[in-house]
């Protein structure tokens, strides 16, 4: 009984000290705002964070700059790939798990300055991303489809192949809002 009371007293003291110390030196005083901007969100290729980063690490991935992503996340991406598809061997691009996730872990979208722009059209790979590219089906195919794209047929295509509104042929290309 005495102990309990004593503990309660200590607890009270703690919270009081806390409040008092705050009153004294206000550790929350902030530096004068500079004209700097700090990273909150980033993106290279579509849906990479959604698919390959675990919930616990999404925040960290978002705060890791691309030049450091490969080293920090390649193994984790590989684990996640095998968690999604335990039977993964290689994919339609002939990449084994380590090669595939090693390439994906650095979330940078490569864009060719000439030739065809496409996410993947069967011939060209990752020469950019057009509005109409069915990027999700491409990614699903590479994750689940196996070497010839025939494995896991229920998972290789979401069967949504195009946008609900036609894109424009001229700037700004995106369709007017609904």
């Amino acid at each position: 009984m005495k102990t309990i009371k004593f503990l309660a007293f200590v607890g009270l003291l703690l919270s009081l000290t806390l409040l008092t110390s705050c009153k004294d030196d206000d550790p929350m005083i902030l530096p004068e705002p500079a004209d700097m901007y700090t990273l909150e969100d980033q993106m290279g290729r579509p849906a990479i964070n959604t698919v390959f980063v675990t919930s616990a690490e999404k925040d960290d991935f978002n705060q890791t700059i691309p030049s450091e992503q490969g080293a920090a996340f390649a193994t984790k991406f590989q684990n996640q790939l095998l968690a999604l598809n335990a039977g993964y061997t290689t994919n339609a691009l002939g990449m084994d798990a380590a090669t595939f996730t090693g390439a994906l872990a650095t979330d940078v979208l490569t864009v060719a300055t000439s030739g065809t722009t496409t996410f993947f059209d069967g011939t060209n790979v990752l020469t950019g991303r057009r509005l109409a590219d069915d990027v999700i089906s491409v990614e699903l195919l590479l994750i689940f489809g196996g070497p010839n794209g025939m494995e896991n047929p229920g998972l290789t295509d979401d069967h949504v192949d195009a946008n609900d509104k036609a894109f424009l042929t001229t700037f700004p290309y995106l369709a007017s809002p609904h």
Binding site: S15, M28, K58
Partner: protein
């Protein structure tokens, strides 16, 4: 010398005129008359209904689509905030509960459940949800913010402090408003106002009207706390300019009309409008106080009975326990219920304000020893909320502790505007009243 005399004379005349000239009251009907129209809220609700229709059509085609369900749940919560109709909040909750059962790792849903639970004063449930979100690990920034909110309500100041300091991006509206809460509960009102002003500045550059309005109406409350009534009034008006259906700011103006200017007719007119468009129990409580101030005990009792009936509806759960406990204890002669509610409130929200209720309930029960014990262990020195300070003063007075009674009654007197004219009267009475030394 002559000039000095002349100047003094002018000064004297000036002072006399200033003292006797009828001053313009602060509250001018023309400043806000435009907002006393049901159309503003109707417009807002119509817009929300358009949105609800939009997502409902999508849901009709895909009833289990979690994205649409989440949108819908968010809209119902917003509709509760706008209309005060509690059933919308329950609708929101039940959608979120289904979603979290199907998608336990959806942090957005867990955060929304936390916010809904806080709205319903279910702080234990809120704690559970936000801890779950923290465990999942995504969106830790938002989890830290909500954990700060919950810890402050749960009286866990060490955790609140820890969570607040975990937040690294500090030029952030979300951070500033938690810093406001921290400073406010630490009794540093001036610092709290400073942070709130920074939050407002950021809200203005974010261009989000809801945030600007929210910041302004809270800032207006805080200026009132500081006793800056004109600034408070002007800021409520600014808030209303951002959101013409801002009931909180209209209520604030009604309070200024009543408490600061004793203009009960105008206060009642605003409150009657609010009752008409925004059916929450709260307004009857203020109307009851105003009636009592006007000396109409019968009307005061009627409003109080209406409040109790509405606030006791099962749909509200524990939302109004803070008000109901003392009312049951005093007005309804049901001290047992008052104590039960206060104890439940302490379990849900072990915060100095809840302990103040508990100590008061013991006092009503006639258990002075317990009342004083709870008061000194959990209230004194831990909150500056005028309600708690006033209760402490009265309690010390009732127990013949003259020095303490005077200290807290005088402190409560400083908050005359917030406590209202009836309290000021009572405080004065208590301060004059002789008491038996114990």
């Amino acid at each position: 010398m002559k000039y000095i005399k002349l100047i003094s004379l002018f000064a004297l005349i000036g002072l006399t005129i200033w003292a006797f000239f009828p001053r313009q009251p602060l509250v001018q009907t023309s400043d806000y008359e435009i907002y006393l129209s049901p159309e503003w809220l109707a417009e807002e609700v119509a817009r929300m209904d358009t949105q609800i229709d939009f997502w409902q059509k999508k849901l009709d085609a895909a009833p289990r689509n979690q994205v649409y369900l989440q949108k819908m749940a968010g809209l119902y919560a917003a509709k509760f905030k706008a209309t005060g109709e509690i059933s919308f909040l329950h609708q929101s909750d039940s959608l979120y509960e289904d979603l979290t059962a199907r998608f336990p790792a959806n942090v957005g849903v867990l955060h929304a459940l936390t916010a809904n639970a806080i709205s319903q004063h279910q702080f234990k449930a809120a704690e559970g949800y936000v801890n779950q979100a923290w465990e999942v690990g995504e969106k830790k920034f938002a989890s830290s913010l909500l954990m700060t909110d919950v810890a402050l309500e749960r009286g866990d100041y060490n955790l609140a402090w820890e969570k607040l300091n975990e937040i690294s991006t500090r030029q952030h509206f979300d951070y500033f408003i938690r810093a406001v809460k921290w400073q406010d509960q630490s009794g540093n009102l001036d610092k709290a106002v400073d942070y709130m002003e920074r939050a407002l500045a950021l809200a203005k550059t974010s261009k989000k009207k809801t945030l600007i309005n929210w910041s302004l109406s809270n800032l207006a409350d805080m200026y009132g706390h500081q006793g800056e009534i004109k600034q408070s009034y002007d800021t409520y008006l600014e808030a209303l300019a951002q959101n013409p259906s801002d009931m909180h700011s209209l209520k604030g103006i009604a309070w200024i009309a009543y408490s600061h200017e004793k203009n009960t007719e105008e206060a009642k007119r605003i409150l009657h409008f609010l009752q008409e468009v925004h059916p929450v129990p709260d307004y009857d409580l203020m109307l009851s106080e105003i009636a009592a101030f006007e000396g109409d005990d019968k009307r005061a009792a009627a409003h109080l009975a209406k409040f109790v009936a509405a606030a006791s509806r099962p749909a509200y759960g524990k939302m109004y326990h803070t008000y109901l406990s003392p009312i049951y204890g005093e007005e309804m002669d049901d001290v047992a219920l008052a104590l039960e509610m206060a104890e439940a409130e302490v379990a849900e929200r072990p915060h100095p304000m809840s302990y103040s209720l508990l100590s008061w309930a013991y006092h009503l029960k006639g258990d002075s020893k317990k009342a004083l014990e709870v008061l000194t262990d959990h209230v004194i020195g831990q909150t500056e909320e005028p309600d708690a300070i006033l209760r402490a003063g009265i309690l010390f007075h009732a127990n013949g502790m003259a020095k303490e009674a005077q200290k807290y009654l005088l402190e409560a007197q400083d908050a005359a505007f917030e406590l209202g004219p009836m309290a000021s009267q009572e405080i004065a009475d208590y301060l004059r009243m002789p008491m038996a030394r114990k």
